[in-house]
Amino acid sequence: MVSTPQVVGDTLPGADLNAPLLEVEDLKVEFRVRGKRVPAVRSASFTLERGRTLAVVGESGSGKSVTSQAVMGILDSPPAYITGGEVRLQGVDLLKQNEETRRTVRGNHIAIVFQDALSALNPLWSVGFQIGELFRVHRGTGRAEAKKRAIELLDLVGIPDAKNRVGHYPHQFSGGMRQRVMIAMALALDPEVLIADEPTTALDVTVQAQIMRLLKSIQEERHMGLILITHDLGVVADVADDVAVMYAGEVVERAGIRDAFKRPAHPYSKALLRAIPRVDTLGQELEVIAGLPPNPASLPTGCPFHPRCKAAEDRCAEEAPPLAAVAEGHTSRCHFAMEVYRDER
């Protein structure tokens, strides 16, 4: 009754199919609270190609969720404002587009799966309605046809008896099934980029694996770009192609997955890897990263990781390191990146 059904072309105006699918460059987001400016994302840069999976890894508060919401364009302003950088989808800078274009990009080109499906789904509408809504708003589809599409999608994400389940409400599904509903919703308009923001955190371990496998298989089938946001390196090891590690609002290391695990070039990534329990270190005490993540309102001078860093020297407290390449497709934001990379530090 309130939406004007609008048929939106599947191609973004000005899109260059040869450009990388999604490039985020030096993205900056700050929160303005009572006159104070708190940087949440200070410099996020990464590239996502078609058919690849990029894992964005970091502790809570490192800015990874804010980055994903900035890419989607769903930050709440106030208090959050994008203050710099570019988000290019097939060469088109989304941050320069008007609100109407950005709205059609959401769902059509970039979709997101949130962490806690119980609160991310509206409790008062059936899952069929919430999935069908995308077709009705973006494609001008009628109610019956939208419901049919919703059933197909529920079927696709492996919900048994989709025909009957389509009219059920979120609270009638189990945690894993709800997350599948979220995924079905994100896939509805066949987006090129799918962002999964900690999609398995709220689930138990066996279900986690099922959801990861589902995401991976759909990503391969549709040749989508998948951004997997997580704080759990173990989860990404067998699904991701590339890794971007975030710390205190910055991407501190970017690498291919094998390189990132074998030869990390940033002391923070290295410390994260040591904190994962592994079969070959069974029985030994796990290493922990000393200290707490920094408060974004009062970041340490120089490299923000230096107070917790085992490799830090005096220089680290004064000078912020630039993002520098250590090898082909492997960059790190550390003064001693080469030495860490060669495992000399």
Binding site: M1, V2, S3, T4, Q69, M72, I74, D76, R103, T104, V105, R106, G107, N108, A111, I112, F114, D116, S119, A120, L121, N122, P123, L124, W125, S126, E133, L134, V137, H138, Y169, H171, Q172, M185
Partner: protein
């Protein structure tokens, strides 16, 4: 869903039964302690002839011996009264011996009309202002809405009524009649008092004025419950789905914030009954509030009980409707 409805219906019936009994018992106690109201029939001063008194007592159902025993619940007359009510027999008034059922036929529709206009005014104003304030939280709009509604609400309703009747009604009526004529809608709507020839038109303004009672409360309730949902995760999801602002507000915010609002409306509806006494009194509308007020003044016990019974029924029915609306709004309640 069916079980939920049946359970709520039975609860409503039980509540109504208890309320009616309490009313009856209070009345019986007042007769037992304060003395026989049938004496009123004889002017209250003289000692009437015992045979005539007995006849009057029989006429008004006061002949049962239980009325002479303080504390006796008087169950027999209670059951008799319920049977009479069920048969549509509401008795007669002490003064003038008029049929109460016929009086109700005049009073109830007027009060219903009054409530219809005031409920619509209240709900529409509070929803629009509350939604508007919620969308502009902390900005000028928000503060103006809060200030204005509190200002309106803090002026007692009878003051607004009197100001209207004595200062605005006459010039407005004169102006409207000069343009549209006496018999038109506009010619009647601003009248300072009720006109039985225009039972709908002349209740519009009193209804709107009565609708401002509780406006600040309901507006704040709307604002607060919408703010709670505006920040909810599913609203972020709706944004991520590329829905427009209007659709997000109507489909994902307003509906989700309706439960506290429906509760508030139900509560204010019961509250409006007291406002109806004032409004009907000032504007000369022959309605239930007017009737109960006069009945209490004239010690028309039968009329008081009928009036209170009806208002109890209204309150119970409204809470039943509120309960059913919960279920209609929220599937988690429906499938409980």
């Amino acid at each position: 869903m069916g079980r939920y409805v049946i359970r709520r219906l039975l609860q409503a019936l039980l509540t109504l039964g208890i309320v009616l009994f309490i009313l009856h018992y209070l009345m019986a106690l007042s007769v037992q302690i304060r003395g026989n109201p049938a004496i009123l029939f004889f002017g209250g001063e003289r000692t009437p002839d015992p045979a005539m008194l007995a006849q009057v007592e029989r006429l008004y159902g006061l002949d049962n011996g239980c009325y002479d025993r303080p504390g006796d619940p008087c169950l027999v007359p209670f059951v008799e009264r319920l049977q009479n009510y069920a048969a549509g027999d509401f008795g007669t008034t002490l003064n003038g011996n008029r049929d109460v059922a016929a009086l109700l036929g005049i009073y109830i529709p007027n009060t219903l009309r009054l409530f219809l206009f005031s409920t619509v005014t209240l709900v529409v104003l509070a929803m629009v202002l509350g939604t508007w304030a919620a969308r502009h939280r902390g900005r000028l709009v928000d503060h103006s809405v809060r200030g204005t509604t509190i200002l309106i609400d803090s002026v007692p309703v009878f003051l607004i009524l009197l100001a209207y009747v004595y200062m605005m009604a006459v010039p407005l009526t004169r102006w409207a009649r000069g343009i549209w004529g006496t018999e038109s809608f506009m010619g009647q709507v601003f009248r300072p008092s009720y006109n039985p020839d225009y039972p709908w038109t002349t209740i519009v303004i009193p209804g709107i004025i009565l609708g401002t009672v509780g406006l600040a409360t309901l507006t704040r309730l709307v604002r607060a419950s919408q703010l709670e949902n505006i920040g909810a995760d599913f609203v972020r999801t709706a944004k991520a789905k590329g829905l427009g602002q209007m659709r997000i507000t109507v489909v994902h915010v307003v509906r989700n914030s309706m439960i506290p609002i429906v509760t508030g409306i139900g509560y204010l509806f019961a509250f409006m009954l007291s406002g109806a006494v004032l409004t009907e009194g000032v504007m000369g509308i022959p309605g239930m509030g007017y009737m109960i007020f006069n009945a209490v003044q004239r010690q028309e016990i039968n009329l008081v009980i009928v009036g209170l019974t009806i208002s109890a029924i209204v309150v119970v029915v409204v809470s039943l409707v509120v309960d059913l609306l919960y279920a209609a709004l929220d599937p988690r309640i429906r499938y409980e």
